[in-house]
């Protein structure tokens, strides 16, 4: 994640005594106990039957087979793919354009930038509650207009709900990514634009041949956060729709929660959790491979 550069410490002399290991112990203890151990735990639990009340019982591979064969799981998986891809296609261009836009020094753009920042003030739960009320076809925004217009049943229509949720999630997360892009753009040396202007490049050409290539690390960072983030995204969807209507917005993380904490089938819920981990890992590795950033050395430190 992020365009990580491999640990290649700046050649410390082995002769000199480095910092002792215990400095890393507190961090590792927290990480081990509450991240790695549960990660192992979820793998073990995925082979067990547990209703949340008694003690877990070993059940073997049957849970895996049942869960994977369940059409509901497959539907949730597919829905998650749609959610991740469409979210990305919506958020990435908007965030990029807003970032470039607000990097400009015009006064009105600075004013806009302040407004763009506002969604960051709210927690997911807060945003979910506001939009739920706003999008209510009976008592929400629709009443602002003459009857009939805009009374679309955004969150209640199974064909629309997922896209409505994607929009709200985008509303919540675009500001952060726009900030990343804004910071990225501002680090591009002005001399590159001056040179491009001398070469007669127009606005679009400058964007295409100067801005975009210079932003590649920011793009990788932001995209990875977006993709892996929306893969495991839970809070807003839970508050907005709780997975409904029907199971129209029941993406994998929600499926895991509902299976575990509403149907009390911790085994199948753990199977879904393991699936999420596997997909998340694969996606991260794939992204760092594609971007080639895994090989970046620290000499590029100042470049992005």
């Amino acid at each position: 994640m992020l365009h990580r550069r491999e640990a290649e410490p700046a050649q410390p002399r082995p002769a000199r005594q480095g910092p002792p290991f215990w400095l890393a112990v507190p961090a590792l203890a927290f990480f081990g106990l509450f991240a790695l151990l549960p990660l192992g735990g979820v793998a073990v639990l995925s082979f067990m039957e547990w209703d949340g009340l008694g003690t877990p019982r070993w059940a073997g591979a049957e849970i895996w087979l049942d869960t994977l064969a369940d059409p509901a799981t497959r539907a949730a998986l597919w829905r998650t793919v749609v959610f991740v891809v469409v979210s990305f296609l919506f958020q990435a261009p908007v965030a990029l354009l807003l970032g470039v836009f607000t990097a400009g020094r015009q006064r009105y753009r600075a004013a806009f930038a302040v407004l763009y920042f506002l969604p960051l003030l709210f927690s997911s739960a807060a945003i979910g509650i506001v939009f739920r009320s706003l999008l209510d076809p009976n008592f929400g925004l629709s009443r602002a207009f003459s009857p009939g217009t805009l009374s679309t049943n955004w969150l209640g229509d199974p064909d629309l709900a997922l896209y409505a949720v994607i929009f709200v999630v985008g509303w919540a997360f675009v500001p952060f990514h726009a900030l990343l892009y804004q910071a990225g753009v501002r680090q591009i040396p002005a001399s590159l634009y001056e040179a491009a202007t001398l070469d007669g490049a127009g606005r679009w050409q400058q964007f295409r041949y100067v801005t975009l290539p210079q932003l590649r690390y920011t793009i990788v960072t932001s995209s990875t956060l977006m993709l892996v983030g929306s893969l495991t995204y839970f809070d807003l969807v839970f508050v907005l729709t709780g997975g409904g209507p029907g199971d129209a917005t029941r993406i994998l993380p929600l499926d895991m929660y509902l299976t575990g904490f509403r149907s009390y089938q911790m085994g199948p819920a753990s199977v879904i959790a393991v699936l999420l981990v596997a997909i998340g890992l694969a996606l991260s590795l794939f992204l760092s491979r594609v971007s080639g950033s895994g090989r970046m050395q620290s000499q590029q430190a100042g470049a992005a």
Binding site: L2, R4, A7, P9, P12, G18, P19, F21, L23, A24, P26, F30, L33, F34, A35, L37, L39, G41, V42, L45, L98, F101, T102, F112, Y116, F117, L118, P119, F122, S123, S124, A125, A126, I127, I129, V130, F131, S133, L134, F139, A144, W171, L179, A183, Q187, R203, V228, T232, F234, D235, V239, M256, F261, A273, L276, G280, L281, L283, S284, A301
Partner: protein, 276 residues
């Protein structure tokens, strides 16, 4: 030709920017407006016009219903988590960058692998663990996992900064007889301040806004944090939508205050570490 195009203001850009302003503002405008309505007017008045009879009743109701307690719970959890995250991540980063042993390299890889673990996926074992440790339904139950999951990205960001500190500085301090604790405080800490700021702000927002862990790991109102309280207010106030939205508005005020006080640091700090 081209010169002329370049000098025209970017009308298309301005228009697009304006559209997003509207998209951003309308929900917030609706939120604030509705929170000032009388409950009985909510069903009657046009949702986008100012209330005929504005009132702060909704806010009073929220404040009378333990809002301050939830706020202080959120503050405690956020401050405690971030303080520990910064301390342990900085210590670990110093070790990971400067030790240069196979052990340190292996450890760094392990921690970075943690970046790809979707936090939500471990919630069931975390729940089980917290129950077994007897921490269920306490603020500590929220703090411990929050720290754990913040470590990979925090370490990554800080390591990138510590790595840029010239080796000579470390060596000269060592030559002066400085111990590791002193190097950490006098050299590493000041020079990685932008990274610490980024980590601090980013993680503070993460913890402050966290919903899933409080939902599963706590139950009593005495340890309820803000995001969860909004959800429960929604059930408690039911049809009193103005009151629910007043709670939402109030919940944004602390972050707004931080934003007003230090917008520049917040915005640049939030991104500085990611840019590296």
């Amino acid at each position: 030709m081209r010169r002329r195009i370049r000098e025209t203001p970017n009308a298309l850009g301005a228009l697009g920017g304006l559209v997003w302003v509207v998209v951003t503002i309308v929900p917030i405008y609706y939120l604030v407006l509705t929170s000032l309505r009388r409950q009985q007017d909510y069903y009657i008045e046009n949702p986008l016009l100012p209330p005929a009879d504005p009132t702060l009743d909704a806010y009073r109701l929220v404040l009378e219903n333990d809002f301050v307690r939830y706020l202080s719970n959120s503050l405690i959890v956020t401050v405690a988590s971030v303080a520990v995250i910064l301390t342990v991540s900085l210590m670990a980063s110093y070790y990971l960058v400067r030790a240069g042993t196979p052990l340190s390299r292996g450890t760094l890889r392990l921690v970075l692998l943690g970046l790809a673990i979707p936090v939500q996926a471990t919630i069931i074992p975390v729940y089980y663990l917290i129950v077994r440790l007897g921490l269920y339904d306490s603020l500590v139950a929220l703090i411990l996992p929050a720290i754990a999951f913040a470590i990979p990205i925090s370490v990554l960001i800080i390591v990138n900064f510590v790595r840029d500190i010239p080796a000579e500085l470390f060596e000269s301090m060592r030559a002066d007889g400085a111990g590791h604790g002193r190097i950490l405080l006098a050299l590493v800490l000041p020079l990685s301040r932008p990274a610490l700021l980024t980590v601090g702000i980013y993680q503070a927002l993460q913890v402050w806004n966290g919903f899933l862990f409080p939902l599963i790991l706590t139950q009593s109102s005495s340890v309820r944090v803000l995001p969860l309280s909004l959800w429960t207010y929604q059930g408690q106030f039911a049809v009193n939508v103005p009151a629910v939205l007043a709670a939402v508005t109030l919940s944004a005020l602390p972050v707004l205050a931080a934003f007003v006080v230090g917008r520049r640091q917040l915005v640049s700090g939030l991104t500085a570490g990611f840019g590296k």
